[in-house]
């Protein structure tokens, strides 16, 4: 975008971060009692809630059931007040459906679905406040919620967005950086094996830069993985103190 300097001469971004710096991440597991698993995450000003129901019997038509693994059902929605301009509908528009599909693909790659044949796992995510990186906040929140529900996964799924500004890869973009019209890549990673669960890139980028961008995004995902691991460990500690004699 003309006039908006995304990276200053000193190498700092609009909000004062360095190119490889993440926003502050705060998360909590077990936010709700009625759901089987739930989690809340804040990445900067982006706030997301995730709720997991299941594994349970397949709801609706039986024909959806798979005989060898569980069906993963995702719904992505945004609160009508989450964006600067009020949204008319929380879900059902094209962007939300696309995001639901991406989440489904991501978690099919991570959850050990073959342990629960003929059943269904519901993952519902909601953006309460949107400031860029909605997909990554949703994936990270959903990971915590799935862990909270006690559903086995191959590894944490950590997601992060990355962009390319003035020959530098910048990670964890905020809304102003995302809407600048530059390249935005969303990447979901299983950090331990280094496998990519989902990668998506809008706008074009020279092939020579792709490696650098992927590498930056993967490094960011690994650091996020450590944060998520810390959250899970702290949650377990708190819970075990409560249940211990």
């Amino acid at each position: 975008m003309a006039g908006l300097e995304l990276l200053s001469d000193q190498g700092y971004r609009l909000d004062g971060r360095k190119p490889s710096e993440l926003r502050k991440v705060q998360a909590r597991m077990g936010v709700f009692t009625q759901a089987d698993g739930s989690a809340y995450i804040e990445q900067g000003n982006t706030k997301a809630l995730a709720v997991v129901y299941g594994p349970h019997e397949v709801r609706g038509s039986r024909s959806k059931a798979l005989h060898d693994r569980a069906v993963i059902n995702c719904q992505y929605s945004m609160a009508t007040f989450s964006t600067a301009e009020r949204k008319r509908r929380p879900h059902g528009d094209r962007k939300s459906s696309e995001m639901s599909l991406h989440l489904k693909q991501t978690f099919e790659a991570a959850v050990l679905t073959s342990l629960y044949p003929r059943s269904q796992i519901d993952i519902f995510v909601k953006i309460l406040q949107s400031d860029g990186g909605n997909y990554s906040a949703c994936v990270n929140a959903a990971t915590l919620a799935v862990i909270d529900a006690g559903i086995p996964m191959r590894d944490y799924v950590c997601a992060c967005s990355a962009g390319f500004v003035e020959n530098t890869a910048v990670v964890d973009l905020c809304h102003a950086e995302e809407s600048g019209g530059g390249t935005v890549m969303s990447l979901a990673l299983l950090p331990r094996g280094g496998q990519v669960a989902l990668v998506q890139m809008d706008a074009r980028l020279h092939q020579d830069h792709l490696d650098a961008l992927m590498e930056a995004a993967m490094t960011a995902c690994r650091s996020l993985g450590q944060v998520l691991d810390g959250v899970v460990r702290q949650h377990l500690q708190e819970v075990s103190v409560l249940t211990a004699e």
């Binding site: 936010v31 009625q34 809630l49 929605s77 609160a79 009020r86 909601k126 406040q129």
Partner: protein, 291 residues
């Protein structure tokens, strides 16, 4: 709503408890569950509040936008309600599943809140017949455990209290038309007078008595209920029968009396809490969903 299944023996147990003024969770018939209120939780909105009532959890966000006044009331602004029954609350709400409940709730909210007696709608007018503020009140259900109306009405009152609308100045434009200018200063804003905003009290008839703030289990034992909206003075602004069964005129009278008493007692502590929270200002540690 999360489906609860209550067997006959449980029903008898709950009904006998209500008869003796001792409910399953130890409350009396006119007691509310533990309530937590926090305002200013979503910074993208002009006003927001989150209310937890037992396991019921609602989040309300208010956004003010400039619109055109309705022809029937050219010198008043208006409110728009939208209730999002999200799949977070229960998987039954997935897709279009929550729409029916959502529209039922928003219709009732519209009747209760969008009138001159509850809110000074004239204060929302910018230029008669031309421009007015439209307050979009968006309710998000995060978890349902009965008594949605009461929790939503309290959250709306708290969010309206928290709402700050930027000041508008009207200047004469170059071509003769009026031009609106919004103040950039976040402290240069208009607050709403929420004194007369009512709260909803839902009463459920269980056996020969009625209870306030019924949980889903208790609701399953009741055939019908009465929704009463009460202002801080004890004036009743709206009465509606809810549920499938029928009520006797005498019990409706008794229930409105209880609703009036309970509703009147609800306002003072609510306003005190909201004022205390505001007095803390920026020093207040925001809890949100991390607490």
């Amino acid at each position: 709503m999360a489906a609860v299944q209550v067997c006959e023996a449980e029903k008898v147990y709950i009904m006998h408890g209500v008869r003796d003024d001792l409910r399953v969770d130890g409350r009396g018939c006119e007691d509310y569950r533990h309530m937590e209120i926090e305002t200013d939780v979503v910074s993208n909105t002009d006003g927001s509040a989150r209310v937890k009532l037992g396991y019921t959890d609602v989040l309300v966000g208010i956004k003010a936008e400039i619109g055109k006044p309705k022809p029937a009331a050219p010198d008043e602004g208006y409110l728009e309600f939208f209730v999002d029954c999200s799949a977070n609350a229960t998987p039954e709400f997935e897709g279009r599943g929550g729409e029916e409940l959502g529209s039922e709730l928003s219709c009732t909210l519209y009747k209760v809140f969008n009138n001159v007696n509850s809110l000074e709608l004239r204060a929302l007018c910018i230029a008669p017949r031309e421009h007015c503020w439209v307050l979009y009140v968006d309710v998000l259900l995060l978890q349902c455990d009965g008594n949605l109306f009461d929790a939503i009405s309290i959250a709306i009152k708290a969010a309206l209290f928290n709402t700050r609308i930027p000041k508008v100045t009207i200047t004469e434009g170059e071509e003769g038309g009026a031009e609106l200018e919004l103040s950039d200063d976040p402290y240069d804003c208009v607050r709403l007078n929420v004194e007369n905003v009512p709260c909803i009290v839902t009463l459920c008839k269980i056996g020969h008595r009625h209870v306030v703030d019924a949980t889903l289990q208790e609701k399953a034992c009741s055939v019908a209920g009465l929704l009463v909206s009460v202002t801080h003075k004890g004036t009743i602004t709206c009465v509606r029968k809810v549920g499938g069964g029928s009520l006797e005129p005498e019990s409706i009278f008794e229930m409105t009396e209880t609703g009036k008493r309970v509703g009147k007692a609800l306002h003072a502590p609510l306003m005190k809490l909201l004022r205390d929270e505001e007095a803390q200002g920026k020093q207040r540690q925001k809890v949100g969903f991390l607490g």
